[in-house]
Symmetry: D2
Subunit: 338 residues, 4 copies
């Protein structure tokens, strides 16, 4: 950590700051510049709070050199992690996973039809929302427990692990008992109570990046779960908020190589939410595979215009199947299977 102070800072104040840091077992080196004095702090700087140091009126700026995450950090864990979701292995050189299914579970018949189709097309897991985060209180909020039950039946029937979103700590038991991969939605990425609760269980977590969260904040959210004891975290990029208006969000595929260099956790891409437009899903999926993604999560609906939510971004089963065919060829070029 680097702390810069204006030269005009009184010597006593400078010494007080140095003492407070050294007392915590870190060492401090001073570099005198023309207008600034710069202090280099060496040791376990994750125990320092940079905002606190910046509060010192004589401090001009504080810069971290080492990342503030440990368990998610590749420096301390050089091997790629592989997360096991009821037998489907995600990450490292494993087969690229393909999670398909509707935005919301809308009923038994409907889900079985879609599940059969995504299985047939080559999906390795089944998604479907039972509890839905909706911008409007007047929009469909999901089938709740009924939706979870239907997902379990589909798993039984088609042998696909199930992925669905948890919105509150109160439902955690229901999820641990029934769900194979618990999704944390973008809007809850910094719902720290939820993250802490997930740290106390062992079920794998699919952690979506918040709409305006930096990669560092995202890895810190993973760190919350891992620090609690649950290291089974899969990261999922789903688009960030920018000024562009032709897409719902801007898909940021550069996170794939960046996450792989900073962390050992697997990363998958959600092109459906990232673009909000089914016409962009295939090209962004192929791009994600070419860039090294460990998986895809894609919305599929047999009748998108009748879907109860997010139909505009859902693929029909035949387009989903075609995407997987092309995706497999791209995967081969980058040395992966899918």
């Amino acid at each position: 950590m680097i702390i810069s102070m204006k030269n005009s800072a009184p010597q006593a104040e400078v010494q007080k700051l140095i003492d407070s840091i050294e007392k915590k077992g870190l060492s401090v080196t001073l570099i005198r510049g023309a207008n600034y004095n710069v202090f280099g702090v060496v040791g376990d700087t994750t125990i320092l709070d940079e905002k606190l140091i910046a509060a010192n009126p004589y401090v001009d700026d504080v810069t971290r050199i080492a990342a503030p995450y440990k368990k998610a950090n590749r420096i301390f864990h050089p091997q790629d992690s592989v997360i096991d979701v009821r037998g489907v292995k995600v990450g490292a050189g494993q087969k690229i996973c393909v999670i398909g299914g509707p935005c919301s579970v809308e009923g038994e018949e409907s889900l079985m039809t879609i599940a059969a189709a995504v299985k047939e097309a080559g999906a390795t897991m089944l998604r479907g929302g039972a509890y839905k985060p909706r911008t409007s209180p007047y929009a469909f909020q999901g089938l709740a427990t009924e939706g979870i039950k239907i997902l379990c039946e589909a798993r039984e029937k088609f042998g696909l692990p199930i992925v669905t979103e948890l919105m509150s700590v109160e439902k955690l038991d229901e999820f641990v008992e029934n769900v194979d991969l618990i999704q944390v939605g973008a809007r809850n990425m910094q719902n720290f109570d939820l993250l802490k609760a997930l740290g106390r269980v062992k079920t794998p977590v699919l952690l979506k990046r918040g709409l305006s969260n930096t990669i560092e904040e995202w890895l810190m959210a993973a760190e919350y779960i891992m620090a609690g004891g649950n290291e089974n975290v899969i990261l999922c990029e789903r688009g960030i908020r920018t000024f562009e208006k032709y897409t719902r969000n801007t898909v940021d595929l550069s996170v794939i190589p960046i996450v792989k260099s900073k962390s050992h956790l697997p990363i998958i891409i959600d092109p459906s939410h990232a673009t909000g437009d089914w016409r962009l899903v295939e090209s962004m999926s192929l791009a994600a595979i070419a860039a090294g993604a460990d998986g895809l999560i894609i919305e599929v609906h047999n009748c998108p215009e009748a879907a109860w939510s997010d139909g505009a971004q859902s693929l029909k089963p035949d387009n989903f199947a075609a995407l997987i065919q092309k995706g497999r060829k791209i995967a081969q070029v980058v040395g992966r299977e899918m």
Copy 2:
């Protein structure tokens, strides 16, 4: 609501869409253009889900004319709302409220010192975090119930209503029993389960704008609380995320006149979090008052460099008192008291 479809859409598909809308009791008017057909939908369009309509492969675009919120909408509620926080009235032409206090409650002695100082300076409510949303799992997470107790003691002693942040539904009872104004933090603005729970109580809610949420999403979050039955919502701008690096966030003061034109709810400004830098707090506070804000929430600490969180943005009590002195004069110019 306006729906545009390419002229190439088959007549049968066009009719199907019109029928489905008319069946809901709305009326549809067609305007034929050279390359597009445009449908105007009239009636209670809040019951339509634009994403679903956009899912129709023949639909090119969907635009709302009327806002999707009702209870928060000034059109249906032309009078300014006044929210009563244990006797302190916020909104309309009421006195501009000033909420002061530390980022975190750090202990009884410390809080009493600060509470005495903010009261003396002219604050009308006391803030202080007991449950703290922290980016890092290794940072101080708040004194929890102990912090709430200390806040209650301070209220007893100084007669200031207390404001503190609720992070999970599980603690709602504790808050309803003890807290006068329940804060929903920026990171939880779209934690819909939390919003729904707050809709079921009567305690006033201070709803912070999310770091990358539009004003419409913010009013929809208020709508969640109000739709549940709790119309005591105060909006709070605390800066949005942009590309600028010299400030932590960018304070968006144009929300003041915009919120006042779109909604009847009071709006206050948090210049401490919006800027992340105590040196910017006074000028942004005066600007907020000049722009018509109904209140301010400001971090104050008697010893910022020793604060347990966010010291960099905390004012010392004397600066806080000076700010209030100047603020009162600005308030007078815009026809308000403070």
Copy 3:
């Protein structure tokens, strides 16, 4: 175009607005809603200025249905355009073009070495800056005319068309005489005088997207050049500005399918500037090809750490050659050659 007005607008004002639009030969249809009156305007709406209409104090909102660009619009020009750059054809099903070379031309020997390497690796054009837009007035500003001369020699020797950036109208003659593909940099995307001047020549233009420009503004900038008579425009995405800090910019690959649906112009990707980090260039290049890009422009330097500008994002020749090898295999999967 859709114009919405509050119901409270006086009838005389409403009629005045309708008259002024009809006088221009467009037709207006009224849809009455509960709180708004909505007018649909049909005809050549590109001649209307929506900001002017919005200036009417009774107008609440104005929405365009048809895009404001014509010559760049696929609706009026359904066939993909192919741009011929001194014999290298770009766009449609043509071979994916690969433009390689240093950020700046640094001298004859250095450029010849790099040109030989990029040619050997498989590049089809040579890039190199002679006039450099630099954030700091104290940074190297380019070799100017001397740089152009060296590029011409390299073209002579290696048979590669040359691409370089034009920064001011004054140098246009020099560029028309010497350069095969004139680049408009991101910072000049809305330098309208420069765009107009380029509309008066026939040399192909490589139009980079501005750091914070929407796709619509980008296509309108192309429209400026095309409206002047020069339809030889190639679009180039080079990253947009967002809140993320781990990359210099955020590469937005979804522009590839979007531009292809809205326009007939070719689109290429610049992963070097988009990421600012050579370690991300290969994966983003492969992703771009998978997503359907018509070409790549990549910075290559034989000794990046000694480059006079932007070394951090330059590939060494052997990495560039490896990228092309992999890229060719991806191209094959999506039905293209490279």
Copy 4:
């Protein structure tokens, strides 16, 4: 400047980098950390190019401590600058300047009417566009030289210095001869050739912030002009691009105290372009004055709905006069005249 390298960097490479920096007359201090080596560089670091250093494959990150601008930097020029625009003094404790007038000059009669009105209301300078940067090539592009002539006549008649935008170097002579304050528009903020040309004259320059430019880039653009010899620069904030859709741009008023702490140059605010909506102009103007702005530039039109450009953001003369009346009272509170 702080350079961090992974510990794994070979000693020879580390030494090579140190040598190359020391050769330039700067000194380097090493701090060894657990995983990183950090080098502090002391001396005139404006001569170092951080991108070049970051190009070194062993370098992990480079951070500047001292700002890269000199002439615009308050550290080297502690006194506030006052810019004299044909007798109207801007900056420091001078009277807050008020620049009013139409977006475009539309004709002699129209401009004289508006000029009389803004003069009467209390404006101290007259604005009006003669050369207009328009997103669409089909929109009105300004009266050009004819517009400049009309502005000069208005100056003659009303005694107000004139402000208008320069879009290309070719017209510089015309502007130097006729214009009192030459405006550089947001889209040209990094048109470096234009900035260099303005550095060679003495006419004061009004430098607008680019829509997505950081404060540092803005000060670097000022530095371009100042480095050329023209230190008469006034900065103008006109809104930045964000995700919010209810306003055209987001006005960032925190730039006022920030610019005042980093630089000695005057700063004024353009609430008309920043919001794009005349209904927001008064509140944002009062906020700007409260925050310490040195001036305002506001669009005024006697008949906004008939304006040839940007009518939606123009105030009518009586609203402009009312704004100035209130503004004067706010100015008094913050110790200024207006």
